[in-house]
Symmetry: C2
Subunit: 350 residues, 2 copies
């Protein structure tokens, strides 16, 4: 979906890397996160300030090979070392389907997946993942466990103005972001964490050192360039042509098409979202999430297999800890594929 | 050390990446390792064929964020799932100091570090790491555990002609390589595995999917370019100016300087290595490892702290599972730093 925007921008975001540059493991040995490229760090702070979606003051930046690696770095950093039992990791259902897989992948004695945060009632310390806007259902979220020893990780991958109104700068202890969802460059494998506590940031850096000895310099350099162009265009005279204006318009159009298709078919439902003022776009709008979270109404129990029969590939609710009556579909596919999807959906009858 | 070569090569290894390219998670969805760039895969096979250091026929290539990530992917893939007890991971001392740290980082129930392979005698399955030439001591190695249920991982990061004579193509089940040691581009964070068993390759790919959802496309594209230039120059009319001729000469010079400094001082010793014919360089020479593995002779018990007092920073033997009378020093530093090191070493007297 974002490809056509970057094509239109032409050479503005092209990077040129000579063979003798960025050869070292180190980016800046004096920094806490010694493998973070200074120019990338600068552009992260600038973009958050331009968009107003996160507080960067008094935060350490840790770069990761996507926010997936940063999530694991956070689990490593936040797990109590001396505990006999692994710390419980929870998130309110429906939750991002990769969280349980990642958490339990190596059967760690440090932490373990403990499922839906809403039904979690164990005493003692726990880690709660708060994804806001949420993947898969798009709703804004706050922590739900009512414990005194909770440690929160805020996954803010979708807290950008093409998906949801930016009401105020997020101001949490540990916040995760990624270029794959903000700019569309999933292939770079670049994410970043804004971390308040120095010791936590240091341990996250340690994890990434042990896991991959840092993060691709080439992709950091390229990500810096892309972020810079986004900030430049958001502030400049061609503001109407900015990345977020473009992507906001595409998402608005797609959500309109989706709601029409759902209505035409009559077999499905999607949530309504309360409209809010976006301080960045200076406009009131309803959230238009990166995923459609669709419910099959009536007698259809397994929505995923029902839609597969109609040549629509989705991911079923059980992966997200809820009923198979729900499915998740990406709203970010290429134009042509998206058109095919809504056309097929609109023609499904019982 | 390699920087000056790549500077001399100028634009030959420069990459240009427009903003709209390599945006997807996928490189080639039809491939087992779906995030491996086809051009990089091609250049890996070509370089191994040119150098003759590894068999690539009937092998699956898995790309990783450095060989560090591939080592973890291999542990994940080779650990028996159903075992009650973690599988033991061993390597003959002195072993690469990061192996125990990586293996035990998350206190996995799948595998655990079990120390020096030479003193390992437990029955049942185990994983043995064979690093050849070895980090830290530079010797060629074979597996040492005499068990029937051993699974081997061959770390061949240093099996390149600037470090050791290439006697024959390595032909093992699971072989790890990395650009950081072959071409000097540590900042790319790119490694690759050559894997015989399809199921193992598939599980390694799965681990990298869960850990980082693939590997930076930008760095793969850049690595492909660098490998291509090395192959081109090794085969072309300017063979004398090839990367491996250059790096062989630098290493030969540095090892000559090191041996002179050790002799002048009289307080230290380094190993002699048997000369062998290198089929690639068509020349008989002694291995000239990427690290100097130095022993403090006489009364000095802690060589690391002794040398720190002489302003030489090293890593002590205990990190590698052996006596603190040994230290490891990189032989790949920039010219100026290397000159300083040998000058300081040569003037140390008891």
């Amino acid at each position: 979906m974002y490809e056509s925007y970057w094509q239109k921008k032409g050479d503005e975001t092209t990077v040129v890397i000579p063979g003798w540059q960025f050869m070292s493991y180190f980016s800046d040995a004096t920094r806490l996160c010694w493998f973070l490229e200074p120019e990338f760090a600068e552009q992260i702070v600038r973009l958050h300030n331009v968009v107003g979606n996160a507080v960067t003051e008094n935060r350490h930046i840790v770069v990761g090979t996507g926010s997936t690696q940063l999530f694991q770095a956070a689990l490593y950093a936040l797990s109590p070392c001396a505990e006999a039992e692994p710390i419980s990791v929870v998130s309110a259902a429906p939750y991002y389907s990769s969280y349980p897989l990642i958490t339990d992948c190596l059967k760690s004695r440090l932490y373990k997946w403990a499922g839906d945060a809403r039904s979690f009632s164990k005493n003692g310390p726990y880690i709660e993942l708060v994804t806001s806007p949420n993947n898969p259902d798009g709703f804004a979220r706050r922590s739900v466990v009512n414990g005194s020893e909770g440690i929160l990780i805020h996954d803010l991958a979708y807290y950008w103005p093409q998906y949801t109104p930016i009401s105020s700068p997020a101001n949490y202890d540990l916040m995760l972001f990624t270029v794959s969802k903000s700019t569309g460059h999933a292939g770079m494998r670049i994410g970043w964490a804004l971390v308040k506590d120095e010791d936590v940031a240091r341990k996250m850096t340690k994890y990434i050192e042990i896991n991959t000895i840092g993060v691709s310099k080439d992709s950091q350099v390229r990500a810096a360039k892309v972020l810079k162009v986004i900030s430049d265009n958001s502030e400049g005279p061609n503001e109407g042509d900015s990345f977020f204006e473009f992507s906001y318009r595409v998402m608005a159009k797609r959500w309109k098409q989706l709601r029409e298709a759902v209505q035409q078919s009559g077999l499905f439902s999607v949530s309504d979202f309360p409209p809010q003022l976006c301080m960045f776009l200076n406009r009131v709008f309803e959230p238009q999430p990166a995923f459609a979270w669709i419910k099959c109404e009536g007698d259809i129990d397994n929505c995923e297999s029902f839609l597969r029969g109609k040549k629509i590939l989705t991911r079923g609710g059980k992966h997200f800890g809820v009923s198979p009556k729900y499915v998740r579909i990406s709203m970010l596919d290429r134009d042509k594929n998206y058109e095919t999807f809504v056309r097929r959906l609109s023609t499904i009858r019982s």
